[in-house]
Amino acid sequence: MIRAFAVFVLFVFGAANLDGAEKFPPKPAGYFNDYANVVPKEKALALNERLAQFERETSNQVVVAVFRKMESDSDIADYSQRIAESWKVGQAGKRNGAVLFVFIDDRKMFIQVGYGLEGALPDLTAFDITERHIKPRFRAGDYAGGLDEGIDLILKAIRGEYKGDGATVQEKSRASASSGCGPLGFIIMLIVVLAIIRLGRRRGGYGYTGLGGPFITSGWGSGWSGSSSSSSGGFSGFSGGGGSFGGGGAGSSW
């Protein structure tokens, strides 16, 4: 049963599992995702809130993802572009997303810039941010400081490019889901949930436990298993708005 579940998870998230060696991380739960556990919890939460607030104000979606290592044979530019694309970071029409990828063990990072931000955050600026600002701090082992400064500079570069409407994609979808479906939607959901519970009980009860939480990480081995945070308290969750990436951006190794 557990194995079947793992296969299911791989099937759902492993769409780009082309050459066997490559693994694709699932969609991030938050804006700041420290899967490698290199940033203190409070700091990570503060940065997450900052990026969520930035989306409310400007509609730009900026996501940070810190992994232990790359699970791919291709180069970082290509791999991270496909991940950013699959996460749909940025709003659909504006394509205003940016993702800072960091792979700690590979000592590599890359800023992927969505089509709509290539003007505000050109390759040279992205390179300047990783090479001159983040890299020296990472070399000194100061991950939190490097990420803080990097985020600061990215936000500075792209602020003013677009205007927000006070809510993130996730907040908007939540609002429309509760108002749009009405009681009928609720009843359907109730039936679906009951059916799942029934099915689960008939098959022994366990195996579906992962479905309740905000992330399904059980099938993922050591690579991405760290949690960024739970959705309790003041944590703002992230949902991609439908942005798209064309290979813009730059990166450094340290």
């Binding site: 530019a77 290509d78 572009q81 390759d123 040279l124 390179f127 990436f245 064309g246 290979g247 813009g248 951006g249 730059a250």
Partner: protein
């Protein structure tokens, strides 16, 4: 007899139409437009690279006794790329045409990567701000090229598949939809280039003067 055959054809077509509906036709039009749009994107990233080259060449040429042959190779490859310009608004239907385009671009890729390798021997040049900047821009452009080529191939695949499906495959000839050729994976980029530029050969049939810059920088 003749009119009867004609009538039969009409019946067949009508029944095909009712089977597939106008939706199929509209879908093909949309898919074809996507292919053309992606083709335009491919063209614009290649153009972006071509536009970087004069700057790169002049920066590198300024370095003391930089290896001349490498520079000439880049300049020549850039010139031959200018000669196989295809219509940027319409994806090619001829596989040979696309191959010629891809080959010319592949030679430019090889020449550029060789230039970057050779530049390793010139630490002073590599230390300059302008060279570093150009290198970043060049890398970014290569990344964009690979993304747009992939997107183009995906669009072509979707379009070609739709064309070949029954019963669309019986209608597409009538409406003049033609399958489109793909980019092949990194062709020419890995092979050592034959440095032989045949400038006497005719350029591509479709001239696109609006976006064509001067062929030789």
């Amino acid at each position: 007899m003749k009119t009867f055959l004609g009538f039969g054809k009409v019946i067949v077509l009508a029944s095909l139409f009712s089977l597939t509906g106008c939706g199929t036709y509209n879908r093909l039009v949309t898919l074809e437009q996507t292919v053309n749009k992606k083709w335009a994107d491919v063209q614009s990233v290649y153009q972006r690279r071509a536009d970087l080259i004069p700057n790169l060449v002049s920066t590198v040429a300024g370095a003391a006794n930089f290896e001349k042959s490498t520079l000439t190779e880049v300049t020549n490859a850039r010139a031959s790329v200018g000669q196989v310009k295809l219509d940027p608004s319409k994806a090619p239907t001829d596989a040979a045409e696309l191959e010629r385009f891809q080959k010319a671009q592949g030679q430019l890729s090889t020449a550029l990567s060789r230039l970057l390798v050779v530049s390793e021997n010139y630490p002073q040049l590599r230390a300059t701000e302008s060279f570093k900047g150009l290198q970043v821009q060049l890398e970014g452009t290569e990344n964009r090229i690979s993304v747009e080529r992939n997107n183009f191939n995906t669009a072509v695949q979707e379009y070609n598949t739709a064309l070949e499906r029954f019963p669309t495959n019986m209608l597409n000839k009538m409406f003049g939809f033609k399958p489109r050729p793909f980019f092949t994976a990194a062709a020419g980029a890995e092979k050592a280039p034959e440095v032989k530029f045949d400038f006497s050969s005719k350029p591509a049939t479709t001239p696109a003067p609006a976006t064509t810059p001067a062929a030789t920088p």
